[in-house]
Amino acid sequence: MKKTLKITVALVAVLAGLTSCNNSENSKGRSGALASNVAEKVYVAPGEHDSHYAFLSGGYSGNLTVYGLPSGRMFKEIPVFSQFPTNGYGYSEETKPMLETSFGFIPWDDSHHPDISQTNGKLDGRWIFINGNNTPRIARISLTTFETEEIIEVPNSAGNHSSSFITENTEYVVAGTRFSVPVPQRDMPIKDYKGNFKGALTFISVDPEHGHMDIKFQILMPGFNYDLSHPGRGKSHGWFFFTTYNTEEASSLLEVNASQNDKDFIAAINWKKIEEYVNNGGGKMMPADYAHNLHDEATHTATSTMKKEVRVVDPAEIPGAIYLLPTPKSPHGCDVDPSGEYIVGNGKLSANLTVHSFTKMLDAIEKKKFDGDAYGIPILRFEDVLAGSVEQPGLGPLHTEFDGKGNAYTTFFISSEVVKWKLGTWEVLDRKPTYYSVGHLTIPGGNSREPFGKYMFAMNKITKDRYLPTGPEMEHSAQLYDISGDKMELLLDFPTHGEPHYAAAIPAEIIKNNSKKIYRLAENKHPRKATVDAETKVVRDGKNVHVYMTTIRSHFSPDNIEGVKVGDKVYFHVTNLEQDFDVPHGFAMIGANNAELLISPGQTRTLTWEPKKVGVWPFYCTDFCSALHQEMQGYVRVSPADSNIELSWSLGD
C-alpha cells in the first residue's frame, strides 16, 4: 500500500502537470500578474475598436494592408500595384487602366514606403501615398474609400526606392531613384556607367483639393544610388534629404565595390529654391513616356493617359540649391526629427550613428566651407555639419523614428534590436530585441512634426520560429512595443502580409469618421450603369454584347439571357442597387478567364467573358448577401457562332 501511495502521488503529479491551468511554458518565468498586464494592453474586446490604424506596405505583394493597433488585427488588403482577384481590381474593365504603364499593362509591383498626407507637418489623414519600386510609380490611396485613386509612373527612374515621402503641407510627394541609369535611356556599354548614368529625383506636385499628382520637375543628379529620403520639417521645411550609397559608381559586384568609400553622402536639396527656378521657366522639357492613371469616383472608372514629356533640372544650372553632407558608410535610412534640426544618417556599415545639424549645415553653406565637389555639387565638411554621433549603439543601423518627447528609436538589422536614444545628448537609453532581423519601424506620426509616441512597431525580415510552422515560405512578423514609459515594453507579435518595408500609422479618430459606407446611386455617372430596373438591357454591337445588369438582395436583373454566341465578347456591367452599409454583391461567370467582381453598394463594375463553348452557363453571386444568397444566380445561353437566335433577356418571366 505504501508503494501504491507513492505511485499515486507520482501519477497525480504528472497529471497535475498536464492539466495545469497556468501555462508556464508560455509565460517564460514572468509572473502571472505581469503577463496579464501585457495582455490587457493589446486586448481589444469583441466589438470594440482599436485606437490606431496602421498601413503596412505589402512589399512584393504590391499592395497595402490595413491593421489595427494595439490588437495587430488585419482589416483589409488594399490593392494598389497588383491585380487582386478577390475584388476584381486590375481585372474589371474599370480598374484595368490603373495598371497601365509605358511598358504596357503590368500586373504586379513591389510596394515599399507608405506616407500619410500632412498639413502643417501634422498627419491630416486625407490620403496615403506609396511607391512601386520595380516599375517606378507612385500611388495615391483615398482614406475615405480606402481604394487606390491614382497612379503616376516616374520616368528616368529605376528602383523607385527613396520614395514616397511627402513635404509638410503635402506640396510634393517625392520619388528618388535607387538605380542610376542612362538619361535618356540608350544603348551603351554598362562599363561606361561612371560619369554617364544619372540619378533622377522627382518632385510630384499634389493638388491640395483633390490630390491629383503631376510631375513638377526632376533633378538629374550624379549616378549614385539614392536609397531613402525624408523632407525637412519646421525650420528645415523647404529642404529634402536623400541618403546615397555607391558613390563609387560601381556597376558590378556592388556588395564589395559600393562599400569602398569611407563616407557616402546625404544630398540636401533646397526644393523651394528649385521650385522658384522652375516657376520662372527654369529647367527644360525632355521627351519621356509615362502613364498617369486616375480613378474617378463618380464614373467608378479609371482612365490612363500617356504623358510625353517631363521637366528636368541639371544641378549645375542652379548653384546653391544642392549640397552633399559626407555620411559614413553607405547610409540607408534618412530620418529628420520632429523639430527639423537633426538629420539622422543610418550608416548601415558604420559602427556609429551619424546625426547632422540643419543649423550647422546652413552656417557652413553661408561661410562656403566646402571640401571639394562632386560633379559640380559642393561637398560640406563632415565635422562642420555633424551634430553628434550615437557611439556604437548596435550593428547595422537602418531606420529611425521619433516619439515627440526628445527620443529617437533606431532599428539594427544585424544585432536584431531597437535602440532608444536621446536627441542632443546621443546617449543610449534602452534596447530591446526584435524577432528577427528588423527592417523598418513605425511610430504613429513618427516621421512628422507631431508624433503620437505611445506605440512603436518593428517590421522584421525573418520569422523562423515565431509562429506555428507553415513550410519553407511564411509571412513576415511584426512586433508591437509600448513606448510610453522610460523603457520599451514588448507587447505583441503579429504576422504581416507580403514584406512590409515601411508603414504609416495614425490615431483612428483622425480618419475613421470619414470612412465612406456606400456610393450614392444618385451620384453614379458610370456610362453603362443601370440604376433602375428600366435601364437593364442587353445590347449587341457586332461581336460585343453589353449586359446592363443590376443586383439587389437576392437576384440579378436580368438573370436569363439568350442570343449570345461562341466568339462573342460579353461585357457584364453590373450595378449594385443596394444603398445600405456592407452589402456588396459578387459576380462570377463560369469559364471567365479573369476574376470575379465584388461590387460595393451603388457601384458599377464590368467583367468581360468570352464564351468558348455552346451550352447554358450559370453565373452567381459570390458574396453571401442574405438568406436567399444561394438563390442568387442566373443563366446565359450560348449558341453556335452561326446561330440566328435573337438576343433576349428576362427576370422572373
Binding site: 499515486t8 507520482a10 497525480v12 492539466t19 433602375v532 438582395r553 436583373s557 443596394e578 444603398q579 438568406a627
Partner: protein
Amino acid sequence: MNGVLEFNNKLNLDTMKKVVMIITGLGMMLFMACGDGEKKKDSPYENSTPSEQAAPKSTEPASTRVDLANKGVGPISSVTMADDIDQTMAAHGKDVFEKMCTACHKADKKFIGPPPTGILNRRSPEWIMNMILNPEEMVKQDPLAKDLLMEFNGAPMANQHLSEEEARAVLEYFRTL
C-alpha cells in the same frame, strides 16, 4: 512517464484498480478546479418578451392582414395627411419609388416583395414609413413585418437609406395607387 508505466506492470490487478480510482478522483478535482466557476449566460431566446410570445397567431397571411393601429418601430410616430393627395409630392414619390424600390417591388403585383397598391387600406402611414426607413429593426421587432419576412421567403427588405422627406413622398405616391 515510461518509468511509471513499467512500474505499473508489476502491480497486481487489485492494487491497480484502487490506483485507477484514486487517480480518477483526484484528476476530476484537478479538472474541476480549472473551471471558471462562472454561471452560464442566459440563452438569447429567453430575452423575447412574454407579450410577443403570448400574442395570438393570425392564420391570415401578413400581406392581406389589416392592422391600421400598428405604427411599427422606427423614427416615425405620427404622419399628417391632407384629405387631398398632394400631386407634386406624389410625383416626386413615384420618381423615388422607381429609382430605389422597383428592383424588388412592382406597383400592382407581387414580386420579390408585396405590391404597394392598396397598402393604405391595410397599414397605417406611420408603419409604411417605418418599414421604408427602418427595415432591419422592423423585421426583428414588429410582428407584422416579421410575418411578412417569412411569407416572402426570408427576402429581407433592403434599407435604401431614403430620407424622411423621400419616404413621405413615396407614401403620398402610394395613395395614388
